[in-house]
């Protein structure tokens, strides 16, 4: 039980001039769940990628059992028994579950010069692995038709199809519902019993006491310390992550009576039905709900990204027709999407170019564009939003998640919107950046902006919003003042079936 199966000693990694990982340590025992926590840019993912062979380390040693290993590819790592399940799945949507599990090592038999894939055997083996996970997924099912939770299980099954000693899980519960999370924990406990060591990366500190045995904290590329979970309550973890103690600030409501936007009778198929609400000047309206409640779909329809069946928008009392994001932008609405990498940014382009994308109209001169203004604006936002980067010419993919998110925010602030829609603005980013974004939301509201914020984290909705609208299965089930709200009340509304 206490046998060490994986050890990293003094591991360092540089990217160009930045030290992404500085003398990291990790000791993983068999049959333990070892949580890695740290703000974005703390070095967790770099360490993981070195262990799985996706990156090579500049300094330090990694031992599997008592043998030092030098893995050069994820393929080699997998052969040694180290597998990783990332947030972004590596599954191929058009293939079956069984084929995905055995991809790259399909069981074949040679008949003279002709080889034949043994589909029946593959199916049977896949079924056995899925049974072990107590899953009812059929091996012949097409992966594209599965839910996120099921896909994650298939990923785990894929890892288990090798003789596995170390399993790395990167934010396995980030996109799961409460029910699925419970199942996931069961699966993880099953794996522990088989003696597999699990490295568990998560931002959800509340779940760690339930699932983790030990916890290692990283900050700014440095290893801070390892603790038994019993001696690491949330407060202690956060202190170690942040380095200085945090002060919680209460939100001062600065909402006015002036109606900025009115949404009337918004409906779109089964996604959401008959949604009405008001947004006031200086108000932060939170939208709460469980996964699949239709929150993102609703704001996408408001912003003109997706078609709607019916619905009217009034801005300053005037009916406004919005058919496209371009229309919405003209109407003074900004939209910070859920997926900053795919939708928010162009990762291979410099920061100032990303900023310029929304304000090309404003940069226009009689001939050409005012590119100096673009750079100047970006530099102003780097200052005011405290974006950590080399300069405004750095490419977006080199930034950490929290800083990328700030760039997305900057690019919409540059349009000087009256209404700002933020979909999960703090998802997957570190606590430091989170607090900065909360402060920013406060400031913007004080300046009179109307803000709609979707968040799956109930404490966050309660902390940040003036008023909270709750959606459940596409219906509006409640509208609450933040003074009277608790997490229990919100959850109650979020699980109701009756619209208000």
């Amino acid at each position: 039980m206490t046998e060490t199966i994986l050890r990293a000693k003094g591991v360092s990694k540089r990217f160009g001039g930045t030290l992404a990982l500085d003398q990291a340590e990790l000791e993983l025992r068999s049959g333990e769940v070892h949580a890695l926590v740290g703000a974005n840019g703390a070095g967790k993912s770099t360490l993981i990628k070195i262990i799985t062979g996706a990156y090579s380390n500049d300094e330090g040693h990694i031992y599997l059992g008592d043998k030092e290993i030098h893995v050069k590819s994820t393929f080699e790592a997998r052969k040694l028994g180290i597998s990783a399940v990332y947030q972004e799945f590596s599954l191929i949507n058009t293939l079956s579950v069984a084929e995905n599990i055995y991809l790259g090592k399909l069981i074949r038999r040679q008949y003279g010069p002709i080889e034949k894939i043994q589909w029946q055997e593959i199916q049977n083996n896949a079924q056995k692995i899925l049974d072990k996970l107590e899953s009812d997924i059929k091996p012949e099912a097409i992966v594209g038709n599965l839910s996120v939770a099921q896909k994650q299980l298939v990923e785990i099954a894929k890892a288990l199809s090798n003789d596995i000693k170390v399993l790395i899980m990167d934010e396995p519960t980030a996109s799961l519902s409460d029910n699925d999370i419970e199942n996931m924990f069961k699966v993880i406990k099953g794996l522990k019993e088989k003696g597999i060591g699990i490295i568990y990366v998560s931002h959800r500190l509340e779940e760690l006491p339930i699932i983790a045995d030990r916890i290692s904290v990283f900050r700014d590329g440095r290893y801070i310390r390892t603790m038994d979970i019993e001696e690491a309550p949330k407060k202690v973890i956060i202190e170690n992550m942040v380095g200085t103690s945090m002060v919680e600030t209460k939100r001062k409501p600065c909402s006015t009576d002036e109606v900025l936007m009115e949404i009337k009778n918004f409906s779109s198929g089964t996604k959401f039905q008959n949604i009405n609400f008001l947004l006031h000047k200086g108000e932060v309206l939170g939208i709460a709900g469980l996964a699949g409640a239709g929150r993102t779909e609703l704001v996408r329809a408001i912003f003109g990204v997706d078609q709607k069946d019916s619905g009217e928008i009034f801005i300053h009392g005037k009916k406004t027709v919005i058919h496209s994001p371009a229309d919405a932008k003209k109407a003074g609405i900004g939209f910070i999407t859920e997926d900053r990498k795919e939708e928010g940014l162009i990762l291979n382009m410099p920061l100032h170019t990303n900023l310029g994308m929304t304000i090309l109209d404003k940069l226009k001169r009689i001939i050409g564009l005012d590119l100096k203004k673009e750079v100047r604006l970006m530099e102003e936002y780097i200052q005011s939003l405290k974006i950590k980067c080399r300069d405004s010419g750095q490419k977006a993919h080199n930034l950490s998640g929290g800083n990328q998110q700030k760039v997305v925010i900057a690019k919409w602030l540059a349009t000087e919107p009256k209404i700002l829609i933020m979909d999960e603005p703090t998802r997957g980013i570190d606590i430091g950046s989170k607090n900065q974004i909360y402060d920013l939301i406060n400031q913007l509201a004080e300046q009179g902006m109307g803000i709609i914020m979707i968040s799956s984290e109930l404490p966050e909705v309660i902390q940040v919003s003036d008023r909270i609208m709750v959606l459940a299965q596409g219906k509006k089930t409640g509208e609450l003042d933040n003074q009277e709200v608790t997490q229990d009340i919100l959850l109650d509304y979020a699980t109701r079936k009756q619209a208000v």
Partner: protein, 314 residues
């Protein structure tokens, strides 16, 4: 440290280094190569295609492809020749031909953008259709009988520099500017890199995509005028395979086939590369079939070098 710098430098400018190397070799091998006359011949040779390649580069950067450019040039050339032969004033014919090009681009781009079809398929169909149309309306024979004044457009030169070369320089100057310093140009790069992100930023993706095709096909109209003037007839079989030459020029010049990256300056280098190679082989008396093999191999190598370059860069 110094070694790394040299390596980086070589990696970054390898295409230019190979180009210079090729020029030096040819200069040594043949005394006719580096003469003003021959240099102008090479530039003249690539000038008309290079105008088509502007549009192609923009289309590839926007994440699309256009296989129909050669056919559009032929179709526009034939129409222009017929208009002028039937007595329509030269300048009106020119405007009409460019407009017809633009309309064709509006069709291919509009269909591609609006119906979200793959431009490969749309333009593959148009490639067949317009080549066929050009042959149908002429009965397969070149259309001659053009006014003498029209020939001057391509044939004249000023201070030893052919007009064709000047047109090329002017068009490239204008479009390099458009790609770098206008909202339209920036939108093309954004759409090619990440269409969804561009759309959510309030860029009118459909319009930009369509406009890129309109411009590209209008430039085919311009190329058709120049080509018609150069050969003094509207030939339905002309500009055969130009789509491939334009694509090759763009790719050798570093444009990313997947969209989002590329420079018009690179495309000129790419075309020069192929042009100088072809010219050199003729001067050295390489057999025509072998020329094609060598050209193919060089393009192949260039593409490999480019991909290595990109990987090193990332």
């Amino acid at each position: 440290m110094k070694n790394i710098k040299i390596k980086d430098f070589v990696m970054k400018y390898i295409m230019y280094i190979v180009l210079v190397f090729m020029v030096i070799t040819l200069t040594v091998a043949n005394d006719k190569f580096l003469t003003l006359n021959n240099v102008m011949t090479i530039l003249k040779q690539i000038s008309i295609q290079s105008i088509v390649a502007i549009g192609m580069t923009m289309i590839i950067i926007s994440g699309n492809i256009d296989l129909s450019v050669g056919s559009i040039v032929a179709f526009c050339s034939v129409i222009g020749a017929m208009l002028m032969a039937s007595g329509v004033p030269v300048w009106i014919a020119i405007i009409l031909v460019v407009l017809i090009g633009a309309v064709i681009g509006f069709i291919s781009g509009g269909v591609t953008a609006k119906l979200k079809l793959h431009s490969f398929l749309v333009t593959l169909a148009l490639m067949q259709a317009f080549r066929g149309l050009a042959q149908t309306i002429t009965g397969g024979y070149p259309k001659a009988g053009l006014p003498d004044a029209f020939g001057g457009i391509a044939a004249k030169s000023v201070a030893g520099v052919p007009f064709l070369v000047l047109y090329m320089i002017v068009f490239y100057a204008v479009f390099v500017y458009i790609m770098k310093y206008t909202a339209f140009g920036r939108s093309i790069y954004a759409i090619g890199s990440n269409e969804e992100s561009a759309r959510l930023s309030g860029i009118n993706v459909e319009r930009v995509k369509t406009m890129v095709f309109v411009i590209s096909s209008a430039l085919c109209g311009v190329a058709a005028i120049l080509l018609t003037s150069k050969v003094r007839s509207g030939d339905p079989t002309c500009a055969n395979g130009w789509e491939m030459d334009a694509i090759a020029g763009a790719i050798i010049g570093g444009t990313n086939m997947a969209g989002g990256e590329g420079k018009l300056g690179g495309t000129v280098i790419g075309l020069l590369f192929v042009g100088i190679l072809a010219n050199g082989m003729v001067l050295l008396g390489v057999n025509a079939y072998m020329q094609s093999v060598i050209k193919g191999l060089v393009i192949f190598l260039a593409v490999i070098i480019n991909s290595i370059q990109k990987r090193a860069h990332n």
